[in-house]
């Protein structure tokens, strides 16, 4: 049964819904842009420099690792650029160039490539980098210290630091609306609440991030902060303050939702998000650090493989058919 016409053969299905990793990553970057643009608008050229250097350095590290590890070139999928962008969003605008280059090295190489590249990283790469930088150079991520030369027309004290050291009376000047519109000092891409929420909602509606994680993270922060606030309003700030400050919103929509390090089943996603939200406020209120989002999400990343074992029973699974 030889045939002169050669056909392409493969296994079913012969249709695909057309989704692509690069498209997804570029959309996440677009969704992050409002917050980034606001940061650049507020902090000017230094912020732009950090973002540009971070994204390009991330791509170069990825390319170098592709060559070193003799793997196909993977910079086209947008994953390295996204990690670079997210890492820059977590930095103060005045971060020195070597911190940016070192940071994305930690994110791309230590956080992602040594585990085998995309899909294999157990932790969020951008968070691995920021955690190492934070623990190694104490002053670099102290926003009051880093942004001391800026006066943007609103209170330039980093809200979470003020809360930690001086209590709720020190943060009574911050209004919810002001925080939501980005009127507080902080990281380049983490202070503009409206932009982050808009970007996050866009990604949720497009099905590019999992709403269960974002929503349960925010709920976890809200409920935990509310309980603390009710127990001692003089010492612990209210839930809305915690939702709109620090890395809460960027964490909810852009960091906790990273595919490889988060669960995929429904109940585990809720536990993962709520746990990260709970830990965030716990670290902020009674822990040693000013912001808890980084370590909270990293800790839940570690717990992810275990949590994700909670899953619905498969069709006909577990039945006795002997």
């Amino acid at each position: 049964m030889d045939s002169p016409t050669l056909f392409v053969s493969s296994h079913a299905p012969y249709w695909h819904n057309g989704s692509r990793l690069s498209v997804k990553n570029y959309h996440i970057m677009i969704a992050a842009l409002p917050a980034v643009v606001m940061g650049i608008y507020q902090y000017g050229a230094p912020a732009l420099g950090v973002v540009a250097l971070s994204v390009s350095a991330a791509i170069i590290w990825e390319l170098l690792m592709n060559f070193v590890m003799k793997r196909p070139v993977s910079i086209g999928d947008g994953s390295a650029a996204l990690i670079g962008l997210l890492f820059a969003m977590l930095l103060p605008a005045t971060a020195p160039w070597w911190v940016v280059v070192l940071g994305v090295f930690l994110a791309i190489v230590v956080g992602k490539q040594i585990y085998g590249g995309i899909g294999c990283n157990p932790l969020n790469p951008a968070l691995v980098a920021i955690a190492i930088i934070f623990l190694s150079w104490k002053g670099l991520l102290d926003f009051d210290e880093a942004l001391v030369d800026y006066d943007l027309g609103f209170c330039m004290v980093y809200p979470l630091a003020a809360l930690k050291h001086l209590g709720t009376s020190a943060v009574s000047d911050y209004t919810v609306a002001g925080l939501f519109m980005g009127q507080s000092s902080g990281a380049i891409g983490a202070t503009f609440g409206l932009g982050l929420v808009a970007g996050g909602l866009y990604l949720i509606l497009r099905g590019m991030i999992r709403w269960e994680i974002s929503l349960s993270f925010l709920a976890g922060v809200f409920v935990t902060a509310l309980l603390f606030n009710l127990s001692d309003p003089g010492k612990y700030a209210g839930p809305l303050f915690h939702l709109l400050t620090g890395y809460t919103l960027i964490g909810a929509f852009f960091l906790a939702t990273e595919d490889s390090s988060s669960p995929v089943n429904f109940v585990p996603m809720l536990i993962f998000g709520a746990g990260a939200g709970f830990l965030t406020v716990l670290i902020r209120n009674i822990g040693a650090f000013v912001d808890g989002a980084v370590f909270a999400i990293l800790m839940m990343n570690v717990a992810n493989p275990l949590i994700d074992k909670i899953r619905p029973k498969a069709l006909g699974g577990g039945m006795n058919h002997a």
């Binding site: 049964m1 050669l6 056909f7 079913a12 012969y14 294999c120 498969a314 069709l315 006909g316």
Partner: protein, 426 residues
């Protein structure tokens, strides 16, 4: 069939209804060459009785091997001009006979003369298969006989309309066909599952009807049994372990017609899905080569295109236009080379799309990690490999374009080879 702009919900793929495409069945003019095939092993070939030059009559019962009960029905009158032993899907080997058909049909009278009734002992020797079902032995069992049968009036895959057209055109034979089916199998309960548009056709004969929402993959046998009868098939990977079965409405109608007219069925209704994704209902003799059907429809295929037996989600690729349509070929899908999407060798990024799409609630993200590394038994034991209903939605939604469905079928095949299935079934 692209991903919708808003992706919050699961993909919803609806089966094509015959109202969407027109309801005619084109009859393909007879081909002068036909092929018959029968599963067998290399050793069986030594017992081959049929030889080149043998003459066959239309509807004649052929028993190619002296030691085997299995038989074939000659689809035309002519001479056997070639016999070859071949290997097909997943190592299945079979013998193929090519028949040079004569100008006129000369019907064999054995079936009529034997006066076969549905309740006859030897009914299997005349019907080893029917249009829509390649092996009746799954239905007629001495051990563990069927209690309930679902007659599938929906189609197996998207864009296929074979069963719907069969029901529309042959509704008058349905009640008789079900009667015959009950006598043959001993099943006490037979329910016809239909899409909403065919409810009135199915109810004409006074048979029990259940309307099914025509959303893919509701018509896949294990899911159909669950919806219609409320029975969940155990995850053994085999439907034969159940006391309920699924048979296509085309088979039942063909069965009813065969006994009414005292002629074994030689025609198959099938859907040709052309390069523009149009579904065309045709009727052709079983054993007709694909090329003959495509030529009759003026559909051309060129190098780099794809030819598939079945639908876009679960069909099986074929590699030659000489391949004949068999009793279970419900559709021929022709895909232009510009539409061919190649699978990738990228790793899983754990996005969970497959997990949300899976109708059997499998942890596909974990499963694929084991399957990629050849850990089939672990995949079955820890991650329910055998619960898969084989719908293909996981690979359809995979953002990394991993051939997940392929890995799953390979895993099941490898497990079957090692005998794991028998072990797990006690």
């Amino acid at each position: 069939m692209k991903k919708p702009f808003f992706g919050l919900t699961k993909p919803k793929l609806t089966y094509t209804g015959i109202d969407d495409i027109g309801q005619d069945i084109q009859t393909i003019p007879p081909s002068d060459r036909l092929f018959l095939s029968l599963n067998c092993t290399k050793q069986d070939m030594q017992d081959l009785k049929l030889s080149i030059g043998s003459e066959v009559k239309t509807g004649q019962k052929l028993r190619p091997f002296s030691g085997m009960e299995a038989c074939l029905t000659a689809p035309a009158t002519g001479v056997i001009t070639g016999i070859s032993f071949e290997t097909g899907y997943f190592d299945q080997s079979f013998v193929s006979f090519s028949i040079q058909a004569g100008e006129r049909d000369n019907w064999d009278a054995e079936f009529e003369q034997a006066g076969i009734k549905p309740e006859s002992e030897n009914v299997l020797s005349f019907f080893s298969g029917l249009p829509g079902i390649s092996d009746l032995r799954h239905l007629i069992r001495k051990k563990n006989p069927l209690r309930a049968i679902v007659v599938n009036g929906l189609d197996q895959d998207l864009l296929i309309v074979t069963n719907q057209l069969s029901l529309k055109k042959g509704a008058e034979h349905l009640a008789h066909g079900i009667d015959c089916l009950q006598k043959i199998t001993g099943a006490t309960q037979v329910i016809v599952a239909v899409p909403p548009s065919l409810r009135s056709e199915a109810e004409k004969g006074g048979v029990e009807v259940k309307v099914i929402d025509p959303v893919y993959p509701h018509a896949i046998p294990r899911l159909l049994i669950k919806q219609v009868l409320g029975i969940t098939a155990p995850a053994s990977g085999r439907l034969e372990d159940l006391d309920a079965g699924v048979v296509s409405v085309e088979s039942v109608i063909a069965l009813g017609q065969a006994f009414a007219e005292a002629k074994p069925p030689i025609f198959k209704v099938l859907t040709v899905i052309d390069k523009g994704n149009r579904s065309i209902g045709v009727r052709a003799r079983m054993g007709t080569p694909v090329l003959h059907i495509l030529d009759a429809l003026h559909t051309t295929v060129t190098e780099g295109d794809r030819l598939v037996f079945g639908g876009p989600m679960s069909g099986r690729g074929i590699y030659s236009t000489e391949t004949p349509i068999g009793p279970d070929t419900d559709a021929i899908l022709v895909q232009d080379k510009t539409q061919v999407i190649s699978p990738s060798s990228e790793p899983c990024i754990n996005c969970g799309e497959c997990v949300r799409a899976c109708p059997a609630r499998l942890p596909v993200n974990m499963l694929i990690r084991l399957l990629e590394n050849g850990l089939y038994e672990e995949a079955a034991r820890q991650y329910d490999l055998l619960s898969c209903v084989e719908c293909g939605l996981c690979a359809y939604v995979c953002i990394m374009r991993i051939p997940i469905f392929h890995y799953i079928m390979l895993g099941k095949h490898e497990l079957a080879l090692t005998g794991y299935l028998e072990e797990s079934n006690g």
